[in-house]
């Protein structure tokens, strides 16, 4: 186990190096960051001077080596538009996304597990057909339409839920990093629509996945044997079939959580939710390349971490795959 983690850390470092290298090589395609920092009337000469001062004109290798040197000290560069260390900017935006993802993950788990299992156990029932149809519909509607549709109904027409933003937040640790919306009524109200919108695209995926995996498991010999042993249906479904169903689901769930964490761009944009995706889009639109590179590196590490955690978890649930002893 220990060796496994060490190996993963080494791999993660390599991944980060490659990501930063690729990030550096494409950063010139994003746009000129100086443009967003000055008024439109500032002359090209002044702009060139600024670019020079920011080190944007240095040769590629100089810039990259400088970045690596600073990165060794935990400094991933300074965001141009926020005028703060890029890592700090990212860390301050992360809680918003984490809470959003947490909220929708909760919704997904609460609904997709029972619904997925039910549709697998009673595939021909009317309710199952309804659930499947509805989930198919859910996948088919683009998230920004779902989101604006929700806003249209719940905020504009019925005035029951807020239309944008995070509402009242509380500083969780008193250091300004983690602003949480979970502790205020207003914050929770603001979470509802974004969470449901985000869940609406992911949930159908999980209902289907759980359903199909469960159906496969139900066909196995060991389930038949469990019945031959005289176990109750409840026990067969919720103990024997459930755990085996969970294996592939956990993998996909882990990956999806990672994706949601990094790329809930559309949902966050529509709800003006100040998270990672929102920040990313802002950085792209304003060509904040140093923030972008830091973002890529952080997201890369998140994926490595998520995958490692998923693999480890997979090993815990599935005794036949022991991560440490992979052949």
């Amino acid at each position: 186990m220990f060796a496994f983690i060490i190996r993963r850390i080494l791999q993660a470092i390599l991944v980060m190096l490659v990501i930063s290298l690729v990030g550096f090589s494409i950063k010139n395609s994003i746009g000129d960051p100086v443009r967003d920092l000055v008024g439109e009337r500032v002359t090209p000469k002044e702009r060139a001077a600024m670019a020079e001062k920011l080190g944007l004109n240095d040769p590629f290798s100089t810039q990259y080596v400088r970045f690596l040197k600073n990165a060794l000290h935990g400094d991933l560069g300074t965001s141009f538009i926020y005028r703060k260390p890029a890592l700090e900017v990212i860390l301050k935006h992360a809680p918003a996304t984490i809470e959003l993802v947490l909220g929708s993950a909760l919704i997904i788990v609460i609904f997709s597990l029972p619904l997925g299992m039910y549709t697998a156990l009673k595939p021909r029932s009317l309710f199952s057909r309804f659930v499947m149809g509805f989930s198919t519909l859910g996948v088919s509607v683009p998230v920004f339409l779902t989101a604006i549709g929700f806003i249209y109904l719940f905020a504009v027409t019925w005035h029951v839920l807020p239309s944008y933003g995070r509402g009242e937040t509380v500083d969780l640790f008193g250091n300004g990093y983690w602003q949480t919306g979970f502790l205020t009524i207003d914050g929770l109200k603001h979470l509802i629509l974004p969470c449901i919108s985000l869940a609406s695209i992911m949930m159908p995926l999980f209902i289907r996945l759980i359903r199909s995996e469960m159906m496969e498991v139900l066909e196995t010999e060991y389930i038949k044997y469990a019945r031959a042993k005289g176990l109750s249906p409840m026990r067969i479904w919720f103990v024997h079939a459930f755990k085996n169903t969970l294996l592939p689901v956990v993998t996909v769930f882990g990956i999806q959580i990672g994706i949601m964490f990094a790329f809930t761009i559309l949902t966050e944009t529509v709800f003006q939710w100040q998270g990672m995706g929102f920040m990313f889009l802002d950085a792209v639109q304003r060509a904040d390349i140093s923030l972008l590179i830091a973002y890529l590196v952080v997201v890369g590490s998140v994926f490595v971490i998520v995958n490692t955690v998923v693999d480890v978890m997979y090993g815990f649930i599935n005794p036949t795959v022991r991560v440490a002893g992979t052949k």
């Binding site: 499947m132 519909l137 088919s140 995926l205 996945l209 496969e216 992979t326």
Partner: protein, 305 residues
């Protein structure tokens, strides 16, 4: 027995004929495909030809509403394009992009996933970290990057002509890890099973084992992902359009139509939002329904009796 006869007597066709939803979905999909293919002939106008469009005809409501005109059965969009024609052309463009992109994703992803899952060890670690790297670059970044290279190589003049293959490459490249991870997971589950051992013992080559034996057993997950990925590809393209990195504004796809629908949701011109929305939902819905059915049929465990 000829292939045709074989097909006629197959379980595949049999179960298809028994399933009303499958038949319905299939018919709708075929209709949509036909409409898309024949769009240039059946559409009342060519919305991709700037010469046909007049801004002065914009936002005309559907023909049955007040102020509607029979020339534009479903009304016109905000640029004066006939909604009906634009939806046909847009569907065509989106189908090509989504189909191509998913094919590319699946091919890349399956190849990588199979290799990683089957060989394990270093190969696995290497390929999966590659996937992680790719995952870390959202399609937005890929789009900006490839778009920039493209512009240098081909010049902006040809953008309109080459936008479709470009988008296929962008969306295809951006999302292959989705397949790779899933296939790998199911391959790891399968590889230790005895039939693989058996196949290895009787001396089948590795590619044969992987493609003939392991892959079919992972197909369930591929089916599930693919149907969703087709929808995703359409949506990704819409998102790229929104950022000005998708189809050129002059040749809207279904995605860009939906995107304009988003802008018009509060305006009175509901048809700009509603029709393309229904159109896309219909398209994705029948794909998903067919996918569901196909999965049930292809899954050998479910019909052995």
């Amino acid at each position: 027995m000829t292939k045709l006869q074989k097909f006629k007597e197959s379980y595949f066709l049999y179960s298809f004929k028994r399933d009303k939803v499958a038949i319905g979905s299939f018919l709708i999909l075929v209709t949509l495909l036909m409409l898309a293919i024949t769009a240039p002939w059946i559409a009342p106008m060519n919305p991709y030809d700037a010469e046909n469009i007049d801004i002065m005809n914009s936002e005309i409501p559907p023909m049955w509403s007040e102020g509607g005109e029979s020339v534009y059965p479903l009304g016109t969009d905000n640029m004066g394009r006939d909604m009906f024609s634009t939806m046909l052309y847009g569907l065509r463009t989106s189908m090509i992009i989504a189909g191509g992109a998913v094919l590319l994703q699946a091919t890349l992803g399956i190849l990588v996933g199979l290799t990683a899952g089957y060989f394990g060890g270093r190969t696995d670690a290497f390929l999966m970290r590659m996937a992680d790297i790719q995952f870390s670059f959202p399609y937005l970044m890929v789009a900006i990057f490839i778009g920039a290279i493209f512009q240098v190589v081909f010049g902006i003049g040809s953008y309109e002509r080459l936008a479709v293959p470009l988008l296929i490459v962008i969306i295809g490249l951006a999302e292959w890890p989705m397949y790779a991870r899933t296939i790998r997971a199911s391959v790891i589950g399968e590889v230790n099973k005895e039939y693989v051992e058996a196949a290895r013992v009787i001396g089948l080559s590795r590619p044969t084992i992987m493609i003939r034996h392991v892959l079919p057993n992972s197909l369930t997950s591929v089916m599930v992902i693919s149907t969703i990925q087709v929808a995703n590809a359409v949506m990704s393209e819409a998102a790229l359009s929104y950022l000005g990195l998708g189809m050129p504004v002059t040749t809207p796809s279904l995605g860009s139509l939906i995107r304009s629908g988003f802008e018009f949701i509060f305006s009175g011109s509901w048809w700009i939002t509603v029709f393309p929305g229904i159109w896309l939902i219909l398209f994705v819905l029948v794909i998903n329904l067919l996918g569901d059915w196909l999965r049930d049929v292809l899954n050998p465990k479910l019909y052995k009796g």
